[in-house]
Every structure is written in C-alpha cells, then in structure tokens.
C-alpha cells in the first residue's frame, strides 16, 4: 500500500535519531504545529470530543426517551426547536436527536479507537516477532499473512456479525483483528533492519531474552510508525462501522452510532425530515475529515523528507 514506503522512511528516520536523542519528537511537534490544516483539525476534533463530554449537561431528554406528545407527527412538529429542548429535532420514533447524536458520536469514537488499538497491538507484536525471530518462523508467519490478505474482508466482517452479533465491542475487537495485516508487514520490514543494529546486538550479547528485546528495544523504536498508522486507521474503522450499521447489524438499540443514525436519516430524506440526516452526517464528516487531516499531518511531521 501507499503508506508502506513512507512508513519505512519514517521508521528508518526515527530509529536513526532515536539513538541520538529525543529531539526528533520535538522537531516533529514543531512541524506539526506549523501545519495549519492539521492544527485546525485537532481543534475541530477536540470540539467534537468536548461536545460528547459536555453536551449531555444541556440535554433535556435522554437518548432513549420517546416524546409521546410529538411522536405521531415528527415531520410536522419534530424539527429542531430550542423551546421544547429538542435542539436537533426528533428521530423517526420521536426520540431526542441531540441526545442521540451525542451518544452516537461517543460510540463511533470509542469503536474507532478500540478497533485501531487492537489492530495496532496485534500487528506490531506479530510483525516484530516475525522480523526478529526470522528464518522459518518468519517465513511461515508471513505466508499466513499473505493467505489472510486474500480473504475478502467483507466475508470476515459478515461472519463476525453472525457470530458476535450480540456483543458490539467484541465485534470491533474482531474488526481490529482483521485489519492488523498491513501493520504487521510494515513492522516486520522495520524489525528486519533493526535486528542487526548495535544496540540490539549489545542487548543480545548481554544475554537479554528475546521477549524482552522485542518489547523493550524493538517496539519502542517503531513508535512513530505506530502513531501514524493508528491515526489513519481510526477513521477507517469508523467508516467500516457505518457500513455495518447500514446493513442493520451494528450496535444494539437504544444505543446508537453515527453510522446507524446516518443510515436511518438517509432512508427518510424524502419524508420532510432532513435534520435526521443532516446532524449526524455533519458530526460524522467533521470527525472523519479532521482525523484524516491529523493523520496526514502526523505523517508529514514525522517524515523527514517532507519539510
């Protein structure tokens, strides 16, 4: 994939400078701060997070309460209204969209982070072990990755839905499980070049065990790659979640996610209730787009060539 070459470079650069000192991260931070788009994206994302955290304080309805008085005429009286406390209007069933968007945004963010975390942890460890141990083991482990890469991810996702259908977070652990492949390849490549460095040789000569070397010396040196990759993976997983919700197989009611709200809103656009699509879609786009900007910004900041 595209990221691969640049990731390589980032990793090389980081390991080179790692030995010299910590100034690299300061450098990167300085470069990141100069990237106006990325800084703007950070602010936007922080605002979204703040909304999720502080927003409930202003909500007059919970995310599951039905407004019985208005539920029969959502198109007529359910539009956004400050007076009755439905700031974002009502959903199809007469529930407060403001409270639901807050809860949905939270869910989507958590899902993205959990999924990315799982996939990064697995990918890093797998790649580091394969690269460091080398030989037959490496060959076998990477063949396995090749095979898994040929499995259509749709198939895996749908089967996971069938098997973990009732446990939402399990499902995203599952999605994380299938998106670690690429990460493991990048990490393996890096580890291969790291294992003959002086500091690794020194550790080995001092009798440090394999596990310890991988965890204490190899993994920390891959931090840059991990950070960049994770920042690009979070929005991808949020997008995957929205597709699953579209298939109707996402989070269990009354909880909801942005994907579920958008897919419900898209089904009703011609029914005179545009707000049901507009609010969740805006939060979705702002979240994803700012994550894209941040991811790109991080990559540029950590990539020495892209000054």
């Amino acid at each position: 994939m595209t990221q691969e070459t640049r990731m390589d470079r980032i990793a090389e650069h980081l390991t080179d400078t790692e030995v010299k000192g910590r100034s690299l991260w300061l450098d990167a931070a300085r470069r990141f701060r100069r990237n106006k788009a990325a800084v703007g994206a950070v602010i936007a994302l922080l605002l979204v997070i703040a909304f999720v955290l502080i927003g409930p304080a202003f909500a007059r309805w919970s995310n599951e309460e039905i407004d019985w008085t208005l539920m029969g005429d959502v198109a007529g009286q359910g539009m956004p209204n400050v007076e009755n406390g439905h700031f974002f209007g009502l959903d199809e069933l007469g529930r407060d969209l403001y409270a639901r968007v807050i809860q949905a945004t939270g869910t989507s963010l958590v899902v993205g982070v959990i999924g990315a975390f799982v996939s990064v942890v697995i990918g890093t460890l797998y790649g580091a072990v394969a690269g460091f141990v080398g030989g037959r083991t490496d060959n076998l482990m990477m063949r396995a990755v090749d095979i898994l890469l040929a499995v259509p991810s749709m198939f895996v996702i749908i089967l996971l839905l069938v098997m973990f259908g009732r446990s939402f977070y399990m499902l995203f652990v599952g999605i994380g499980l299938v998106s670690w492949l690429e990460m493991s390849r990048i990490v393996r490549g890096q580890t291969l070049s790291l294992r003959h460095r002086e500091f690794i040789e020194a550790a080995r000569a001092a009798g440090v065990g394999t596990t310890t070397i991988i965890l204490r010396h190899i993994v920390p040196n891959l931090l840059g790659v991990v950070v960049v990759y994770a920042s690009l993976l979070v929005p991808q997983i949020i997008l995957t979640e929205s597709f699953i919700s579209f298939l109707g197989l996402g989070v269990q009611e009354p909880a909801t996610s942005l994907g579920a709200l958008i897919s419900a809103g898209a089904a009703t656009i011609t029914y005179g209730t545009v707000w049901q699509l507009a609010f969740p879609l805006v939060f979705f786009l702002v979240t994803i787009v700012s994550m894209f900007f941040i991811g790109d910004g991080l990559r540029d900041a950590l990539d020495p060539k892209d000054r």
């Binding site: 599951e64 539920m71 959502v74 069933l93 069938v162 109707g248 089904a267 656009i269 011609t270």
Partner: protein
C-alpha cells in the same frame, strides 16, 4: 350421492363472455369490465422486496415467488377479488359424502406450448411435491392437505405413485384424503398444487424454469428473468381465457430498499410499492387516491418463553398479563406504523373468514385502566421499584421491528419500571435462537396459509413446530383437534382465544394491513383479498 358444488362465479364468468360476444364491436379492446377506458400501454410494473427463490410451483417458498408463479401457472382453483374460491383449471368439483374424496372436473385448457392440460399434469405435480427426491420445503403442505399416504410418501416409506391422487380420465382428477378437512378446496389455489409440465421438467431438469425453457398454463408466460433485477411475463395467447386478459405485460423489479422504491414510484417507474412505516398519513394527504391500506391475514406478536429455559417471572400469569396490558397498542398502530393496522387483542386477525371475535376484556378498557391494572398485577406478582422485572426482548434486524420494540420497552419502563433489554439478531441467527428457546421474550409474526382461524391457533398447540414459547395447555390442544372435524369449528376457535386472553402466553400487538402506494391507473387491484392472492389477469390499466 354426491353433493355438487357449482361455483356462482363460473356462471357469471360465462355470462360476461357471452355478453362480450353479443356486444361485439361495441365492447372493443378499449374497455374494462366495469366500463373504464383502457390505456394503450397495458404494462403492470410492481416492486418486489427480494429476488424470488424459484418459479418452480412445487419448490416455491416465498412471497415473491408465489406472486409471480400465480400469474404464470393456474391451479385447480383461483381466488376472486374478495378471496372467494373461483374455478381455475377445474370447472367444478364434487365431494363424497364422507368428505374424503374430491373429484375435480377439468376444463379444456392448454399449456403455453399448445399441449392440453390434463389430470396427469396434476398427478405428476402433486407426486413431485411429495417426493423426497424433489426435496421441496413445501412437502409439509402436501402433509397439511391430509392426502392419503402423504406422510408415508414424505418419509420415503411409500412410493410417490401411492399418494392418494389419480387421473380418472384426462379431464377428471380425484383426491382421496386421510381425514376430512373443511378447508381442503381452498388449499387447491396454493402454488404448491399447480400443475407441472412433465415433459419439460424431464428434458431440462432444474433449469426448466428459465425463460427459454419454461412452459406454463397460466395467463402469462415468462419472457425475461434477470436475477436481483427484473422478471418479465407476457400474455399467454394459449390461455383458455386469453380473450379477457387485459394486461399485456407484467414486470416485477427487485428493489431492496423501500424508500428507494418509493422514490422510484414517485418518478413513475412503478405501479405499486410498499409504504414505508409511518409514511401513510403524509402520503395519504399528498396523494389521497394512491395511498391504500386494507387488512391482511397476518398477526404480529411477542411470545413469552414459558419453557424451562425461560425466566421464572414469565411463569406467573400476572406478569404476562401486566406486560400485555401496559402496551399502548394505539400508539404503535397510529404513531409508529400509522398505516391503518388494527390493534390486536386476539391472536387471530379479525379479517379471518368466519372468525367470531371473543369478548376480550382488555379490548374494552381505556389505556389508563389497562395501565392501572398492569401496575396492580405486577405489584401482586412481587415486582416493584425495589425488585424490578428484567428480561431481554429478542427481535430480528429490521427498522420497523426495532421501532416497535423500542416503543414497547419504553412503555414498560415508564409505566411499570420494567427493564427490557433489546437484542436484535439477523434473521437466521434469530430463528435459530428462537427455536432453541434461548430467549426470554421474542418477536413473532404469522401469515395465514389459508383463510381460516386454525392456521393461526395451531401455532399455540403443544405439538406445533413453530410454538417457540413452548406454551402448552391440554385444553387448547383438545379444542383444536376437535375443530378439525367439528361441524362448526368457529366456536372452538373463539374458546381458544378466550383461554389465550386469560393465560396470555403471547402478546398480540397488531394485525397487518397491506399498505401500498398504488398508481390510480391500475384497475381492479383486489384490496379485499386478505391473503393478497392477486391475479394480474383480472386487472387492467386505465387511460388517464
């Protein structure tokens, strides 16, 4: 002595043909039976939710498949606009005094390739449906028809040729039953009982229903089939009543998404589409002539798991009563679905033929009274704020089921402090979970296989394979068994409903309505046929 049943409609039909012949040039092609002026383009286009699983009459197991096959093939009998039985390939039929032998007298009908339709075609088709080698899911239907030796044939203990049917002569088809069943003639309008062209099936095997191979005996013949896109049928000139068939071309389009289908209806691409839940009032206001709603022969309910694996609380009839009473069915039917569905207090829909509604107390109370009673009952059962009732409610993935489940759980929560956790599963997993009693409370729905209360009430008997809540009451079982042979089974059905209202093993929520957008130029859509067995041959397109 045999009692001869001659259908009134057959006489009427004959007289229309005669009138047409006399009127000659006046009744030219431009007029429908009711005097409507016909449009030049006689094409009827209808949305289907899903691709049909098959067009082979004996294999069909879904609504899309039977809706199309009903146009391509014709069985012994048909239904008219009100769901009453009319002659199809059989002009008339007799029943023996012991009600065990039916004799059908066939008319001069032809297959689309010109061959005559004979009693042997029916014998072949019915044997084929029962034959284990065909492996039809609808073998059970042959079993349900109680044809002699049916069960043994299905089990493989007897040869299909030993099934209790025979061709007396090419025009006479005789059926022997193992026990008399009052609704047997109605069952002969079902797709499973349609004739099958032996020659074609033997030549092409499973591919015989492909447009290039298929031979059918109905008013239409298949001309094009693109799976998951469209199926097109054109008028069959060899059909015995082709002169009275107005629609020239019948098209079904597969559109999964109902709001997408509605948009396409509004763009004029469809003549009929399903109304999305909640949209009926708005569409009725904007297009009063196109939005239609009429009762259907289906119910919608939640079943308690009263088996050993179910929660202890549901074994207490007071808890079941309380939960049922606290549901405001008017809100669900008026505000959530809003398509003219009747709220349900009985398991059997009121639209069922000859069904006498029992006196159900809950139906007469106001919602406030029901709520008060519900609180009282639940407190008596020992549940309250200190000891809240908790359970899972299971439904299958779908926007509409979700809305109803959310509304119900909120009603319980706000009125009774009951904590119902929603759980949706995709269809197959849901069915699996439900059939293994791995649930507390689960959604269910049932559409009548034929228009009689037993098709619903049999579900609550101990031996029913679809009784997933495992409710068991010997009295209900006995009443349902008696009803099979009773002169007037309706009293038994009413009695069973009273027992159900008392013991509340299921919560009836509402009864279905057919809610559609139907183009105003479609003439004679049978809105009064509660089973929605419609025949394109009886419809026409009006000129604007």
């Amino acid at each position: 002595m045999t009692a001869r049943i001659q259908s009134l409609s057959a006489v009427l039909l004959a007289s229309t043909v005669l009138a047409g012949a006399i009127a000659g040039p006046l009744a030219a092609q431009g007029t429908a039976p009711n005097g409507d002026k016909l449009a030049d383009d006689q094409t009827l286009t209808i949305r289907m939710l899903d691709e049909q699983s098959s067009l082979d009459p004996q294999l069909i197991e879904d609504v899309s498949g039977s809706d199309i096959a009903r146009q391509l093939f014709e069985g012994l009998t048909n239904q008219d606009a009100d769901g009453k039985l009319t002659p199809g390939v059989a002009e008339s039929w007799d029943v023996s005094e012991d009600k065990l032998t039916y004799t059908f007298h066939l008319r001069d009908a032809k297959w689309s390739n010109g061959d005559p339709v004979t009693a042997d075609d029916f014998v072949y088709a019915w044997q084929r449906a029962a034959d284990p080698a065909t492996a039809s899911e609808y073998q059970w239907f042959i079993g349900l028809m109680s044809i002699k030796n049916a069960d043994a044939v299905i089990k493989g203990e007897m040869k299909p040729s030993e099934l209790g049917i025979r061709a007396v002569d090419p025009k006479t088809f005789e059926v022997t039953l193992s026990s008399p069943i009052p609704y047997f003639p109605q069952m002969t309008s079902h797709t499973t009982t349609y004739p099958a062209p032996k020659k074609v099936i033997e030549e092409f095997g499973e591919q015989w229903t492909a447009p290039e191979h298929i031979v059918s005996n109905g008013a239409y013949k298949l001309s094009e089939h693109v799976p998951n896109e469209r199926t097109v049928a054109v008028k069959n000139e060899n059909y015995w009543d082709a002169a009275n068939v107005k629609i020239e071309k019948f098209v079904t389009l597969v559109i999964n998404d109902e709001s997408q289908a509605l948009t396409r209806f509004q763009s004029g691409e469809l003549d009929r589409t399903e109304m999305p839940a909640g949209q009926f009032p708005r569409m009725q206001k904007e297009h009063p002539e196109e939005a239609v709603s009429f009762p259907r022969l289906c119910n919608y309910y939640y079943t308690f798991n009263v088996s050993d694996s179910g929660p202890e609380a549901f074994k207490d009839v007071k808890v079941r009563q309380a939960l049922s009473l606290a549901i405001d069915r008017d809100i669900i039917t008026k505000n959530v679905l809003a398509g003219g569905q009747p709220p349900a207090y009985t398991f059997t829909p009121a639209a069922t033929a000859n069904f006498v509604m029992p006196d159900v107390e809950a139906a007469k109370m106001t919602q406030a009274e029901r709520d008060a009673k519900a609180k009282e009952l639940l407190t008596e059962a020992g549940y309250g704020p200190d000891n809240p009732l908790k359970f899972d409610m299971l439904y299958n993935t779908s926007e509409d089921h979700q809305k109803i489940a959310v509304a119900m759980s909120q009603m319980w929560k706000q009125k009774l402090g009951v904590q119902a956790t929603l759980a949706n599963q995709e269809w197959k997993t849901f069915l699996d979970t439900r059939s293994q009693q791995a649930f507390d409370m689960a959604r269910g729905a049932w559409c009548g296989d034929y228009n009689e209360a037993s098709t619903f009430l049999d579900l609550l008997t101990t031996s029913s394979g679809s009784n997933d809540g495992k409710y068991s009451n010997p009295e209900v079982d006995k009443l349902m068994l008696d009803a099979r042979t009773a002169a007037d089974p309706q009293a038994d059905y009413t009695k069973v409903e009273e027992i159900i209202a008392d013991e509340m093993p299921v919560i009836p929520v509402y009864h279905y309505a057919g809610v559609y957008m139907l183009d105003t130029d479609v003439g004679n859509w049978p809105v009064n046929n509660v089973e929605q067995n419609w025949y394109v041959k009886d419809m026409w397109k009006k000129a604007e």
